[in-house]
């Protein structure tokens, strides 16, 4: 256990020393919030069903951070660690393989929570962010979404042959998804034809679930999202258990 915590702590320090990951996980979303907040403010609008821009953006950007952590950070980290032999070197110690992977998941989970916390603080302090949901429900949905996307990251890391490909493919998948899923831009701004396509993107379900619960909607209204995310999690774990490589 001592090894796991030490590895987790070391990985946290390494994460924060890496400007790219720090920027996209912790700084990018609050920056977007300040940018769009300064343009649109947070006045309730009929366009957003009586909510303000900030009220709908905070849960959507939370989805954005979850996507970044799972599809970019995790995929790229894992393939770089594999390619450089870091996984193999750790494997040669008494540390269990589960602990090596768990450390990565814990670090990204903590960083994602930190990203969400920063978003909420900025939203609340600058624009009087409104919250009408149940905090535990939102947290539960957050955990489910994280696990679901982290498993997706492990699948990508397992399937993609090397770090370079992993980087390119992860970005090529993630950036369009960021705009088409409602994570980067409100779904309400997208034309209906595109919104039909959006329903096939995993991140759309995270956005819809988090926005809904944030606004105080009940779980029963979001069984589709929960089902899709749970299915991704289960399939992701099964597939990555088969495809994950240490070297």
């Amino acid at each position: 256990m001592r090894g796991l915590w030490k590895l987790t702590w070391t990985e946290i320090k390494l994460f924060l020393r890496e400007p790219v990951s720090t920027f996209f996980t912790l700084i990018f979303a609050p920056m977007l919030l300040l940018l769009f907040g300064s343009i649109y403010g947070n006045e309730p609008s009929p366009f957003f069903n009586g909510k303000g821009t900030i009220d709908i953006s905070v849960p959507a950007y939370t989805a954005l951070i979850i996507g970044t952590s799972g599809m970019l950070s995790l995929t790229i980290n894992m393939s770089v660690y594999r390619e450089r032999g870091i996984l193999r070197r750790l494997q040669a110690t008494p540390l269990r393989p589960q602990a090596i992977l768990a450390a990565q998941v814990i670090v990204l989970f903590l960083m994602t929570i930190l990203g969400m916390a920063l978003l909420i603080i900025v939203g609340k302090a600058v624009y009087g962010l409104r919250f009408e949901g149940n905090p535990f429900s939102v947290l539960l949905a957050f955990v489910l979404s994280c696990l679901s996307f982290f498993s997706l990251g492990f699948v990508l890391a397992g399937l993609l042959p090397n770090a370079r490909t992993a980087q390119v493919v992860a970005m090529a998948l993630f950036y369009p998804m960021m705009f088409l899923s409602g994570a980067g831009l409100p779904l309400e701004l997208l034309p209906t034809t595109i919104r039909k396509f959006s329903n096939f993107l995993p991140l759309t379900h995270v956005v819809t679930l988090l926005r809904g619960l944030w606004a105080g909607e009940s779980w029963s209204k979001h069984l589709t999202e929960v089902g899709v995310l749970a299915a991704i999690l289960v399939v992701g774990v099964i597939v990555s258990a088969k495809t994950f490589r240490w070297e």
Partner: protein, 306 residues
């Protein structure tokens, strides 16, 4: 000479698809020795060692390390061995002291890492991130990591690849130090000279098989190769003047360069005397002994290439 076997390998075999990497390999490593495994790249050295370390599952064969099965008893074995992997790197921004503290946390019993840094000449690099270390410093850090748990047995895989000759020699001293501390060293290298200088016994591997195993001296002696005396002559030279000497078997001349072949400790004295009595003017005289390189050449008919 009967020493305790610390590693026993019997009929080890490992294939990757159709490629047989290791084919029916058997040998023992004795306690307290520096055991070398040499051979060209792709000979199966790393696969063999990774099977012994428990990082790879053999297709068949028996392996015992410190009386343990590296697969079944992996987590009993790992605290007792030190491993330096071929071509491994750490995270760029990981500092030297962080790496040592991190790896120390993985083992139930460890040595203090500060004197270890001192001994390996890394004390002033304590706070340097991994990416800023030179090739030799990185390798010394990997040695430090492999010694952090005070192992009984240390595996060093291609320790000096990519290092300049000076750093390579410094590394050899470190390996001798490790043995001085009572540890057994398993060294993998594709530098014949390294094996010859460092190892008590050497296994030569080629195409997945051990083709020779003995002390470097015995391997070289078994060649029954001749020593050579090489020199350059000035002006005319009649090879007959040397080939008649009892110690000399034959003489070759290429331009002004002459090579006299022969055996025995008196070869050099006899050649020099012969040249003096016949009044031949010569310069740049030197002797050449056969090396492990020649052993490899004789066994495989190929040169070992770096």
């Amino acid at each position: 000479m009967e020493r305790k076997a610390i590693i026993q390998v019997g009929h080890l075999r490992k294939a990757y698809g159709p490629v047989v990497a290791v084919n029916d390999v058997s040998f023992q490593v004795h306690e307290g020795e520096i055991f070398g495994m040499v051979g060209p790249n792709g000979a199966g050295k790393t696969t063999t060692v990774e099977c012994i370390e428990g990082l790879r599952q053999p297709d068949s064969g028996r392996i015992q390390v410190l009386a343990l099965d590296p697969q079944r008893d992996a987590y009993a074995l790992r605290p007792r061995i030190g491993v330096q992997l071929q071509q491994s790197v750490l995270q760029d921004r990981l500092k030297v002291w962080e790496a040592l503290k991190l790896f120390a946390s993985f083992y139930p019993r460890v040595v203090d890492w500060r004197p270890l840094l001192e001994q390996l000449g890394l004390a002033d690099k304590r706070d340097a991130p991994f990416a800023k270390l030179s090739g030799g410093q990185k390798q010394r850090l990997f040695i430090a990591l492999s010694l952090i748990n005070d192992p009984e047995l240390v595996f060093l895989d291609e320790l000096t690849t990519g290092l300049d000759p000076q750093a390579r020699r410094a590394m050899w001293d470190l390996v001798r130090d490790i043995r001085q501390r009572g540890k057994t060293v398993f060294l993998i290298t594709h530098f014949m000279e390294e094996a010859e200088r460092l190892c008590d016994r050497v296994a030569i591997m080629d195409h997945g098989e051990i083709i020779a195993l003995d002390t470097p001296e015995n391997l070289i002696r078994s060649l029954a190769a001749e020593n050579r005396v090489v020199f350059n002559v000035e002006g005319a030279f009649d090879p007959q003047r040397l080939s008649g000497l009892p110690e000399v078997t034959h003489v070759e001349q290429i331009g002004e360069r002459v090579i006299a072949y022969g055996r025995g400790d008196r070869l050099v004295a006899s050649v020099v005397n012969g040249l003096a009595t016949s009044g031949v003017r010569y310069h740049d005289l030197r002797t050449e002994q056969p090396t492990l390189e020649d052993v490899f050449l004789a066994l495989t008919g190929r040169e070992m290439r770096e």
